[in-house]
Symmetry: C2
Subunit: 339 residues, 2 copies
């Protein structure tokens, strides 16, 4: 059986309060007492029982991160950044996968497992604007992603519209006029796909380039295979295009694969732009021009904002905040060497 505060106190010949004081770095302790206690701790190999501490303090030292799935590179990299940011603040991260399914996202929000952690970071894909009120929970929640705006919780997200607009403007500036889109979601207004499509259209409009529905390919999932399939469909449809803006890098990589299979040269015949700035986009052939949505900033900010709420610094005085990370366009070979 592991040693307890009592065992240590007994061995050191002091009260448990004194031991507790030593452990918690309470300042006013006689050096002599402290040493006695520390010796006893060392001898017994005492380690504080975090569960008991948690029960008492109401804090667990962990936060939950709910996301669709780790095998999607974007979320793996996001989780990496969140864990690093949390660790820097002494917190650990418990991960839940929802598969992007609304029912499972709701389950995560309501699960008693939330009590194992002090707060929840949820990257939702299935929830929609109508579910906004369901984010109101008896514990701090920070929303990631772009499915819900103006909800009851803090929200950290990226500038989807502006970033997509910049991506399209970038292609237009290089003389491309027939820009195919991969990854649209039929009828979506809010959501990554909807917002990115809006940004794209804004750029077209501003440049007086006509919008052509035939250039838009919808695909619910943003896996590599969907990118390849969409591109094959596009090619089979016979529609003419000189650029592709894929709504994430994974789709873009799949699409590049299909383009190359068809003998189409990138960027000479078709330029390709992705979104996410995944590690692997730097190593594809050709390397992929992409939108860096500020993933690390999002993770860092989300953790900070969540901890503010957990520690009560921001609560409840501060109303729900909507925070946008800065984006940038990363130029690589898939759109032609810059300069």
């Amino acid at each position: 059986m592991a040693a307890t505060l009592h065992d240590v106190a007994h061995l050191a010949g002091v009260s448990i309060k004194t031991v507790s004081n030593v452990i918690n770095d309470y300042p006013h302790i006689r050096v002599q007492t402290r040493e006695k206690v520390e010796a006893a701790i060392a001898e017994l190999g005492y380690r504080p029982n975090l569960t008991a501490r948690n029960l008492r303090s109401g804090r667990t030292g962990a936060i939950s991160l709910a996301l669709p799935e780790l095998s999607l590179s974007y979320f793996a990299e996001l989780a990496d950044s969140v864990i690093v940011a949390a660790e820097r603040r002494g917190m650990t991260v418990l991960i839940e996968q929802t598969g992007g399914d609304r029912a499972r996202e709701l389950e995560v929000l309501r699960s008693p497992r939330r009590q194992l952690t002090d707060g929840l970071l949820i990257s939702a894909l299935g929830l929609g604007q109508d579910d906004a009120l369901l984010l109101e929970q008896p514990y701090p929640v920070v929303l990631l992603g772009e499915r819900i705006f103006d909800g009851p919780t803090d929200h950290v997200t990226m500038r989807n519209v502006e970033a997509a607009r910049a991506a399209t403007e970038y292609l237009l500036a290089r003389g491309r006029r027939r820009i195919a889109i991969i990854g649209a979601h039929e009828g979506e207004v809010i959501g990554s796909a909807g917002l990115r499509l809006r940004g794209h259209r804004e750029a077209l409009e501003a440049a007086a380039v006509p919008f052509d529905q035939d250039l838009i390919r919808c695909t619910a999932l943003w896996h590599r295979s969907n990118g390849a399939t969409s591109m094959r469909e596009l090619l089979a449809s016979g529609v003419r295009f000189d650029a592709v803006f894929a709504f994430n890098d994974t789709l873009a990589l799949g699409a590049m694969r299909a383009l190359q299979e068809a003998g189409i040269r990138i960027p000479y015949d078709v330029a390709v732009v992705g979104f996410d700035n995944l590690d692997e986009s730097l190593y594809s052939l050709p390397s992929l021009t992409t939108v860096d949505p500020g993933r690390e900033e999002i993770a860092e900010t989300a953790v900070r904002v969540l901890l503010d709420r957990i520690e009560g610094k921001a609560d409840p005085v501060v109303p729900p905040r909507e925070i946008f990370a800065e984006f940038s366009i990363v130029e690589r070979e898939s759109t032609g060497v810059p300069g």
Copy 2:
């Protein structure tokens, strides 16, 4: 403030024991009593406090997974599989990133944070055979990976030697004789790199193909960029080769990129084989022939074995087990269309 057992008991006009019985599905309760209690639970929106339950029961319902980093695709996919396997058994997963650093791996083993979970799955990269005894901890530990064998804990791993041998045999069977290796670790015997190199040499020996040190490229990290760099070095060295066996897919993808930049055709001039069977290897151009090391089986088995220990089913009667997942070669375009 959240409702407690007391509140429910008070409202239902029973004792807390009765409420506890209802919650824990204790069989001998009068239907009438149960209904009364359930009504009270519903009315108060009562949710059991897991922390208190944990303190009392000594179980948390979570396990820890320590791995190098989630942005390495193999570990992201492994984490995905572990989370799915754990969830199937009603457990959640807390993830710690060690960066593959020995000191941080030791820290994970000794951290008081381990008390937030019932056991630890550790995929070590920094620990070595000499650290075996440090795996002995006052909580269940299951080791993943190939840095330590015959340690004091259960160990779930892949058949590195046999799988690597099969990969090389596969290339030899297709007439390749000059097989370059990417991802070796200087002087390593145990460890993924050491074991895979051994398998490779065994295959060469069995086929009486001479081993040439000039074909071996060492790189400590197995990132894409290292694969590309190693390949560029290899090409610059002027050594002749007709195949590459990269010790993981990420290296292989980086190497393919460098080969293609140099105008070398895959698989005509050089065949490429990877290791891990990552999702993205299916969508590269050309798609990558690779070793499937049985990742899902590893995750599933590791979680099962860990829970056996946690639940005391296997403890301490059963001695530490060493379990190997089955592997297979997945044939794709990078070694020529099969048949």
